[in-house]
């Protein structure tokens, strides 16, 4: 790479790749369980980008605003994930379906 690569840029680039991997996973994976894992990977990718840009603005401590946002985001992602898991389990118990495919 031309400019000296800082450490935050490595993580920022990984965030971009993880994001598209999570999005592809969300559409391609059939099973509910893996779709929920895909949404979480999606969220983690976005938070990784937030925090790596925060490290770029390091003065005597890294930029606290993205840190607070990411902590809020992690809790939101976990609660949404728990809700999705509850729905998926209930659907499995009621109808034995674990994918969207066999719906007409």
């Amino acid at each position: 790479m031309t400019a000296p690569v800082e450490s935050y840029q490595i993580y920022a680039v990984t965030a971009g790749i993880l994001f598209s991997m999570g999005l592809a996973g969300l559409f391609l994976c059939g099973h509910f369980f893996k779709k929920i894992i895909a949404t979480k990977i999606l969220g983690t990718a976005v938070f990784l980008l937030f925090i790596s840009l925060a490290k770029r603005d390091f003065v005597e401590f890294a930029d606290p605003v993205p840190h607070a946002m990411v902590i809020t985001g992690i809790v939101v992602a976990v609660s949404a994930g728990a809700f999705a898991l509850a729905l998926a389990r209930r659907i499995w118990n009621e109808t034995g379906r674990s994918t969207f495919e066999d719906s007409q």
């Binding site: 994001f19 946002m69 809020t72 809700f83």
Partner: protein
């Protein structure tokens, strides 16, 4: 009214419904329904206060936590947001009146229907929060609150089709809001501020901003269920219970449309290109044709109304190509105001009409037991008020003269011709014909004599009255358009609508 007090109103519109939700949740179940209505009443009062404050004082800004723009979060209420807050209040109040008897009836059949009131008040608070917030990350959190509350309401009945549709809706909503958040991350990385006003000043057309803008709009398009990304809407809105479907179709979908409009016009007006506007226009017209055509083919009434939502949302997106073209030629081109008011009017009229249609269909399903189109025979004799409500809502959806829908489509048509983009006109007209198709098909069947007289189970009168009131409002805002336009013009980007003497009657 000194200025200091009006700054409280934006916070009040968010706090009252949430306090109502917490109080109602803590009450025992039998008191819960009785406490729900007063909480809805207080929220409507706060919304009216806000609208009144905006009209008298102009745009109102509330700095949460007292810290101000770059660090803290602000609630900013201008004409556009207070119009949507008022719409949510009006529809919300009438749906709440409808929901009280509905859940009293549906309560015994199981499901967690006691939880309707806390969830609905929470959703209402997140809608108000979204219309007023002027911070990009806070908008993400509000969208998540709205998404979770909407899905929780959609699966309230506990039946398997509702659960599957709810999970598909939740996963689509999560994907959409994560794409939006990725856009926010790129914007913050570039201009390192989150307040909408500061971002719009600091932003220029750099590649990161264009990608961020694209991601945010794509995420919000998923949540607004525009044509290619609408796969989740019909199942979710039709399998939900009647008042919930009305809330989802009339209000929740409008929130992400409002956000796209806010980002498109106020924040990223530098990064917006003509091609992007045309692309959204094409998506909108595809939605109009596809949604209305699908609605024509449905046998189940609720599915038909849900597909018509997809169609009507398409009309709102015709607004974007008409506005974006304006920047190249002349910033104060005469048709900008028409397109702007036309698009927002379409959102308002569709809200009232769709809510009234879903409530009317709900009454019909309660009375007859199934929502199959063929069993609607002789409805006019047995449920006259519901048929009248269905007719009023249908008129507004098609866009026949006195209704709000007509004002919206008429203004869009005027803007299409005076802006030279004539190709949107055939889309609007075919859309109206298709909508007329399925509305008159239902009405014809309602007036046709039924084969064998089937007995109906009794339906509480308040439910029919609320459906009728909503349909009447859809017509009313067409007749009395001045008030809405005055409120709409506070801080509007193209504020020539009133001076140009257009007023309500075109």
């Amino acid at each position: 009214m000194n200025g200091e007090l009006t700054t409280l109103f934006p916070a009040l519109t968010v706090i009252t419904p949430i306090t109502g939700a917490v109080v109602v949740f803590l009450l025992p179940a039998r008191l819960r329904a009785r406490a729900g209505l007063p909480a809805a009443g207080f929220t409507v009062a706060a919304a009216i206060l806000l609208a009144w404050g905006v009209v008298t004082e102009g745009a109102v800004r509330h700095e949460l936590g007292g810290w101000g723009a770059p660090l803290g979060i602000d609630l900013h209420a201008d004409g556009l947001s207070s119009v949507f807050v008022l719409m949510t209040a009006a529809i919300g109040l009438l749906v709440s009146f409808y929901a009280k008897p509905f859940f009293a009836l549906a309560g015994e059949k199981g499901g967690a229907s006691e939880l309707f009131w806390p969830l609905w008040l929470f959703l209402w608070a997140s809608l108000n929060g979204l219309f007023l917030s002027s911070d990009l990350f806070n908008l993400y959190v509000t969208i998540e609150v709205m998404g979770l509350a909407a899905v929780a309401l959609a699966v309230l009945s506990g039946r398997p089709p509702a659960l599957v549709a709810g999970l598909r809706y939740l996963l689509a909503a999560l994907g959409g809001s994560m794409a939006y958040l990725m856009g926010v991350a790129l914007v913050y990385g570039e201009v390192s501020t989150l307040d909408l006003g500061l971002v719009s000043e600091a932003v220029e057309g750099s590649p990161a901003i264009r990608v961020a803008f694209g991601l945010m709009i794509a995420g919000l398009l998923v949540k607004t269920a525009v044509f290619p990304l609408h796969f989740w809407l019909p199942a979710a809105h039709s399998s939900a219970q009647a008042p919930v479907s009305a809330i989802l179709s009339a209000l929740v979908v409008k929130a992400s449309f409002y956000l796209i409009l806010r980002l498109w016009v106020d924040v990223f007006d530098v990064a917006v290109t003509v091609a992007a506007g045309q692309a959204l226009g094409v998506l909108g017209s595809a939605a109009v044709i596809w949604g209305s055509y699908q609605a024509l083919r449905q046998r189940r009434l609720k599915l038909m109304v849900a597909h018509s939502t997809v169609g009507q949302i398409g009309y709102m997106f015709l607004l974007f190509p008409l506005i974006t073209i304006g920047y190249r030629e002349a910033a104060d081109a005469p048709w900008l105001a028409h397109a702007w008011t036309g698009g927002i009017y379409q959102a308002l009229a569709h809200g009232f009409a769709k809510a009234s249609m879903f409530l009317a269909v709900g009454v019909f399903v309660l009375a007859v037991g199934n929502d199959d189109r063929r069993s609607i025979g002789d409805l006019v004799a047995r449920l006259p008020m519901t048929t009248f409500a269905l007719a009023l809502a249908g008129i507004s959806l098609i866009g026949l003269p006195p209704s709000g829908g007509f004002v919206a489509k008429w203004m869009l048509l005027k803007a299409t011709f005076s802006s030279g983009q004539w190709w949107w006109a055939p889309v609007i007209l075919t859309g109206s014909f298709l909508t007329a198709g399925y509305v008159f098909m239902v009405l014809r069947q309602a007036f046709a004599p039924a084969g064998k007289p089937i007995e109906l189970n009794p339906v509480p009168r308040t439910m029919e009255v609320t459906a009728l009131l909503l349909g009447a409002t859809a017509i009313l805002i067409g007749l009395r358009a001045e008030e809405v336009l005055i409120l709409l013009d506070v801080g509007a980007p193209f504020d020539e609508a009133v001076e140009a003497g257009e007023g309500g009657e075109p």
